[in-house]
């Protein structure tokens, strides 16, 4: 029961960070600021959500799968953020010349 409540709280806080990231994506002025909001908030949101779901998981195998999902989604979203930021910087450099 306590574990369920804790999991629920973690998932709720995770969802809050996703919402905050989405608001940042919609409200911030340029691509780099938006990226900043999105990657930070999503990273935290994903971690908290995975933690909450892992607490609810029944077997060790499920926990391992959730950890793997967390690892690969977190890594790929960080790499995506890097690629977008890199593209923005190159486009700005090309435009400034």
């Amino acid at each position: 029961m306590l574990l369920d409540l804790l999991a629920l709280a973690l998932i709720a806080v995770g969802a809050f960070f996703f919402v905050a990231g989405t608001i940042g994506l919609l409200r911030f002025p340029d691509t780099l600021c938006r990226l900043h909001a999105l990657t930070k908030a999503d990273g935290l949101g994903l971690g908290l959500t995975c933690l909450g779901v892992a607490l609810l998981a029944g077997t060790a195998g499920e926990v391992v799968r959730i950890v793997l999902i967390w690892f690969f989604v977190a890594t790929s979203s960080a790499v995506c953020g890097h690629l977008i930021a890199r593209h923005v910087r190159r486009a700005a450099n090309a435009g400034g010349r």
């Binding site: 793997l68 690969f72 890594t75 790929s76 790499v79 890097h82 690629l83 890199r86």
Partner: protein, 313 residues
């Protein structure tokens, strides 16, 4: 009693319809593709809610992931060679509208004619599961009871790559973007994991959601990562291997059917003792073909004898 997830389902349905409208009405091509990818992800979620995880996996891997990648790479090449937009002839618009109306009418007709609450073929499948050689009903239908349909799907994929290699022979290709060291490091990290996940999806398909098409699509992502990171560059000398990969699945699939038919049985009437082995053999070979074909579709053109000039990295 109201289902607790009814609100979620209603919102999901509305979101899918809204996304479909947005895809068709938005003017920017890039936004169109991104919306289409989101549309595919929401559809996959809808399939999960309809208790069809096999379709959800296929929708997410092929309908969303790979189709999105194909659309984006096409956009990349279109942007590199800007041509004046050719106005679509009125006759084509009318013909398209007519065909769409025909398909919609056919679907509506079939939907209205289907009796409600009918058991369908599910009991027949459940009765014959023991003879199928696998433990997952979807795989039993796809690879055993209705294997002929699946063979035709594999042939469609083969025809697609033949057409792409023919058509794209003379087209100008934009140089691929240089993605840098971090991307390369990521692809080195992700590649082994994708190979494991794709093989797992293939293997688990005998007992649980998964199978050749889902596994093949995930394995095709290996090809995409290699091509994007330029860890692999297609060479003209590799064409025979690629061709062998394209036809492998179709050849083994048809070959097994003919061999089985040669023993005085119907095609695809596998001997019960060898059913699982034969199904896994077919699925394994079809998976390789699907992965190679989808990756080649992403690359687009046939590797040419003259190397395409590329930007220095």
């Amino acid at each position: 009693m109201v289902e607790p997830l009814l609100l979620f389902d209603a919102l999901l349905g509305l979101a899918i319809v809204a996304l479909a409208v947005a895809v068709l009405t938005v003017h920017d091509r890039f936004a169109m593709i991104v919306l289409f990818i989101v549309f595919g992800l929401m559809s996959a979620l809808a399939w999960v809610r309809l208790s069809a995880p096999d379709v959800a996996l296929a929708e997410a891997a092929i309908g969303t992931g790979l189709t999105g990648a194909l659309l984006l790479t096409t956009l990349h090449h279109i942007r590199a060679a800007p041509a004046a937009p050719v106005p679509v002839p009125g006759g084509v618009v009318v013909a398209n509208l007519g065909l769409c109306a025909l398909i919609f009418g056919g679907l509506a007709f079939a939907f209205l004619l289907t009796p409600l609450q009918a058991p369908g073929l599910a009991p027949a499948v459940a009765q014959n599961m023991a003879a199928s050689g696998v433990g997952h009903p979807v795989t039993a239908v796809l690879l055993n009871f209705r294997a002929y349909d699946t063979l035709m799907e594999v042939v469609v994929l083969l025809a697609a790559i033949v057409a792409v290699w023919m058509v794209e022979r003379g087209t100008v290709q934009a140089p691929a973007p240089v993605l840098g060291e971090i991307y390369r490091g990521f692809s080195r990290l992700a590649l082994p994991a994708i190979v494991v996940i794709g093989s797992y999806l293939l293997w688990v398909g005998a007992q649980a959601p998964g199978g050749a098409f889902q596994g093949g699509a995930v394995l095709a992502a290996v090809g995409l990562l290699l091509l994007l990171g330029r860890l692999y560059r297609p060479q003209p000398a590799h064409r025979p291997f690629a061709r062998a990969g394209f036809v492998l699945g179709t050849a083994v699939f048809a070959g097994v059917a003919l061999l089985v038919a040669g023993g005085g049985r119907l095609p695809f009437e596998y001997p019960a003792a060898h059913a699982k082995t034969l199904i896994l053999l077919i699925e394994g070979m079809v998976t390789i073909s699907i992965a190679v074909t989808l990756a080649a579709l992403f690359h687009g053109r046939e590797p040419e004898a003259v190397p395409v000039s590329e930007k220095s990295e």
